[in-house]
Amino acid sequence: MDQILSLAATNLLSPIILSFALGVAAALARSDLNIPEAVAKGMSIYLLFAIGFKGGVSVADHGIDGTLALSLLAGIVLSAALPLVAFALLQVMGNLSRLDAAAVAAHYGSISIVTFVAATSVLEASGLSSEGYMVAVAAAMEAPAILSALWLISRGGDSRRMDDELLREIMLNGSIVLLVGSFFIGWITGVDGMTKIEAFIVSPFQGVLCLFLLDMGLVAGRGLRSSSGVLTPGVLAFGVVMPVVGATCGLAAGLLLGVSTGGVALFMVLSASASYIAVPAAMRVALPEANPSIYLTLSLGVTFPFNLTLGIPIYVAIASALTGGSP
């Protein structure tokens, strides 16, 4: 427990978390602090490229082992199954309509790539390595949750199909294309490629992540400010309980697969995080009657800050304790 609290305290006082806290505080105080939309977009492109490229280089450097395919499969199964768990939890904890509950559940099966990026940063700072292909696992976990949500709706007698255009938009959304594409570039070019662009990919990473999380803090703070009365106490509690449940499932998957300490931690983070980029857009198309204020406020205003501040250090500490790694 001391180890967990120590790591949590260290994480809370890191520049990236304090930048996020600054953003939340500024938004809650109604400051006019603002990151221009184009700058935020540019930073997200940089972060996705850097994290994908580094993952590819890691795979090129260490080679592929038999757990790659199993890890991808585990990611897909987790993404498809977690919405069912979330839906069942919401039936108990919340008083949402079937439509809203299914839409919320889809978010908790999918992933937050920003939480993933922040977790890899914490792992690096802790000296823990992880499998480079976890980037590919993250990409594989984006879409299955959406199919599960539509299945949950269809079980209630309201048949919704995912049209081909929506499927294409989900599978080829810019974040996935950039993440997977840069992963393959890193894999193909390997350490030599990293040497050529290291000054751009590695050194500025932490600073850019700080500014990006400042912007995310502003967004989360604005969401919290404008959402008073949207969430009932039960639904609010779900936003904190579900990531812990998801992380436990991710922990089991990581331990069963026998991945590294960092890999187990990343499985926990991916399973604990909730989407707020790809899934909300898919829900607006497939389930337009579902209330976006509920699922966006939960994923962005509750679960994202929870994972970023408390969740990640706890997941890393638990993964370390159970695998024998040392944070």
């Binding site: 603002n34 939309e37 935020a40 255009e165 959304n173 810019g174 974040s175 912007d215 995310m216 502003l218 967004v219 604005r222 404008s226 707020y276 980029i277 790809a278 909300p280 857009a281 607006r284 198309v285 337009p288 009657e289 976006p292 204020s293 966006l296 962005l300």
Partner: protein, 103 residues
């Protein structure tokens, strides 16, 4: 100068639905339209602003097109099939254009 009567249709819709709407309009024989960003607003779903949106395709856009009066029904049927279940506003107004052959 001679002018010609036309209909101006303005559809405010979620950005994520934009391509579906313009595809349907194209299939209904509409050959031209303009898309404008909407900065923010307020309606039955509450107040919103384009500022700080992180969700892909979040926010609203306005699709504007001008058609000959005899094409308005086909356009509205195609548009309504797309926007029926979604947040948005469809308005139709009379207008006049200089070059009728373009519409």
């Amino acid at each position: 100068m001679e002018t010609h009567k036309a209909k101006r249709v303005a559809i405010i819709i979620e950005q994520v639905m934009q391509s579906r709407l313009t595809d349907a309009m194209s299939q209904a024989g509409v050959t031209g339209w303009s898309v404008l960003p909407v900065l923010g607003g307020s309606g039955s779903s509450g107040e919103w602003s384009r500022e700080g949106q992180v969700t892909r395709g979040a926010g609203m856009v306005q699709v504007i097109c001008v058609v000959r009066p005899d094409r308005i029904d086909a356009l509205l049927e195609a548009a309504f099939a797309v926007v029926e279940r979604h947040i948005g506003i469809v308005t139709i107004g009379d207008c006049e254009v200089l070059r009728a052959e373009r519409f």
